[in-house]
Amino acid sequence: MAILLFLSQTLRIAIPYLLAAAGGVVTERAGLIGLTLEGYMLGGAFCAALGSYYGHSAWLGLLAGVLGGVLLGLIYGVSAIRFRADQVVVGIAINLLAIGLTRFFLRLAFGSSSNSPRVPGFGGEQAGTGFGALATNPMIWFGIFAIPAVGWMLYRTPFGLRLRAVGEHPAAATSVGIPVARVRYFAAILSGALAGLGGVYLTLDQHQFTDQMTAGRGFIALAATIFGRWDPSRVGLACLLFAAAEALQIQLQGAQVVPSQFVEMIPYVLTIVALAGVVGRAVPPAALGKVPE
């Protein structure tokens, strides 16, 4: 039973990582740096609360959350593609923007500076109910299928080939007639939708939005994208690994084997190790962060 509980808890923690990291793979493989994932998630989480509360439906919450992520993705896309702004600067600013906007509209829509009222969710969120209850929550299935779907798109469709070309060598892509800007816009929008969906999961699972509820999950997803070397299946495994470490920490909480802060560090330390190339070097898409001429 303990094993089953551990596995279901791991899956539950991994869902937002899987969704946001799927967005991370899409945006980075197209050459747009994925620093914005955290902001997309936060925007998605807040809009999910708006939609679910005022629409009285978890599905409307989902729709609103995806739209919130897409909107932030579009701001990023227009700044970085149309105006050729530095992606790192805009990326950091999108995260700050998401924090500011969600706080401002939290006051405006719900009259609170900390959290929204209780909103409808999909159900199946009681901890310890095992896999049966999990399976009834459609968000779980979105999370499970997001990474395989992105992998299929990247490696099995003509569009995926174009997207990878744009991320590796935009000039060459242009020369064979691929509309580089349009592909990058699509990547920005899709990654906004996927990471926004990760935020939706958090809000609907906890039945409310709380200020800064994403708490760095977008950066863990970015860490998983890099640690998984931008390859969907490895990125998915990285998400599960990071989630398993957290689940283990929760299970061992009484035992105080390792201080929680050291468990928190795991994804970040592993990412630095991967980037430094101690065990097999992580090489990013060649045109990541570059502005095509």
């Binding site: 701001i75 050729r84 560090m265």
Partner: protein
């Protein structure tokens, strides 16, 4: 991911000035390229601010008037602006310094915290009652070392392994803040709080000790240290050989290498110094305000430093002015909270960053095409 776009590092220098231009017209072009994006950004932010204020059902005029009155309009508010500007000057200077070397230091947040933590550690170990002027060098060294180590790790990871500094500094933020949280909570904190016990030696005098009108505000003599830091950074960047090498690497690492400069060395050095500058900012809170280290005292100043560095055109003088501007906006948020949620200034700050980033390449393109068609 390659080195941060030379576009940004180039900044106000306009390294690709076309030939057959007089020095004076080039200088005026550089000045316009440096100043215009910031002006455009402030204009855009003002418009977005108006929209948000109207959405909340208030009048922009009244809100902005209250914002000015609560900051520059009275000596307490102004003291708070100076206090906030001091920390932002250090983080902005830190990020601007790294940008001059073509490096993006996203880690100022944790470097600031590490500097403050190191200073607090030293302070806790010292006997009580030593005069601040004697202890100041010790504290400066501790804070610089705390931030410098964090920055240096990122620099070394880049020059030795080619690990991109943007990612490593972000990851180091989380690692260092978690580590400091562990050290504080497990070993140092006063029960039921998030801070260490108080330091009894070397507290910096408040400005209120000299000018009574500042009474109650946290502004302290660290602002003088911030001014010195600006001057020293300017001197290093523009009047020393190492500063020249640093800017050369920032503009074009390959060319600098051809000229006999080792970019790897410069990267490590630049990140270490950048981290040290951010670390010094920790003294403002730890020695100047609360006299203890508290978890989360950095409070986003490391990220806001990015805005300060960009709006300040990556020049020490510009950084100081931009720090005043952003401190005014932050403090102003508190002043107008009765009319609109103070969070609206957070939106404004983000909008300023995006608008600057968008208008830097745009302004350059427009100015250059205009010259070509003259």
């Amino acid at each position: 991911m390659t080195t941060t776009s030379p576009d940004l590092a180039r900044g106000a220098d306009g390294a690709t000035a076309p030939p057959r231009r007089t020095a004076r017209s080039t200088a005026s072009l550089q000045l316009r390229e440096a100043v215009l994006p910031s002006l455009v950004a402030l204009l855009v932010a003002a418009i977005v601010g108006d929209v948000l204020i109207v959405v909340f059902g208030q009048s922009p005029g009244a809100v902005y008037r209250l914002l000015l009155e609560g900051t520059w309009g009275n000596s307490y508010g102004f003291g708070q602006v100076l206090y906030k500007a001091t920390t932002l000057t250090f983080t902005g200077l830190s990020i601007a310094f790294a940008l001059r070397a073509g490096l993006f230091n996203i880690g100022a947040e944790s470097q600031l915290a590490a500097g403050g933590f190191a200073a607090a550690l030293v302070g806790l170990a010292l006997p009580a009652g030593l005069p601040w002027i004697v202890m100041l060098p010790v504290y400066l060294a501790a804070a610089a070392a705390g931030g410098g180590i964090v920055g240096g790790v990122a620099g070394e990871l880049k020059s030795r392994f080619g690990a991109h500094e943007v990612i490593t500094t972000i990851m180091l933020n989380f690692i260092v803040l978690a580590l400091l949280s562990y050290l504080t909570s497990a070993h140092l904190k006063v029960p039921e709080t998030l801070h260490t016990s108080e330091i009894h030696s070397g507290a910096l005098p408040r400005l209120a000790d000299f000018i009574a009108a500042f009474h109650g505000s946290a502004a302290n003599v660290d602002i003088v240290i911030a001014a010195f830091a600006c001057g020293a950074t300017w001197w290093y960047l523009f009047r020393t050989r190492r500063g020249f090498e640093l800017r050369a690497v920032g503009l074009q690492p390959e060319a600098a290498e051809y000229g006999g400069v080792r970019p790897g060395r410069v990267w490590t050095r630049a990140m270490t110094i950048s981290g040290a500058i951010a670390g010094l900012g920790g003294l403002n809170f730890v020695l100047g305000y609360k006299h203890y280290y508290e978890e989360g005292f950095a409070g986003g100043a490391g990220f806001l430093g990015i805005a300060v560095a960009l709006v300040g055109g990556m020049h020490p003088l510009g950084v100081a002015l931009a720090a005043l501007l952003f401190a005014t906006i932050s403090q102003g948020g508190l002043a107008v909270n009765a009319l609109v949620p103070k969070q609206f200034v957070e939106v404004l700050q983000a909008v300023v960053i995006i608008a600057v980033a968008v208008s830097v390449p745009e302004v350059r393109r427009l100015l250059r095409t205009q010259r070509r068609t003259d």
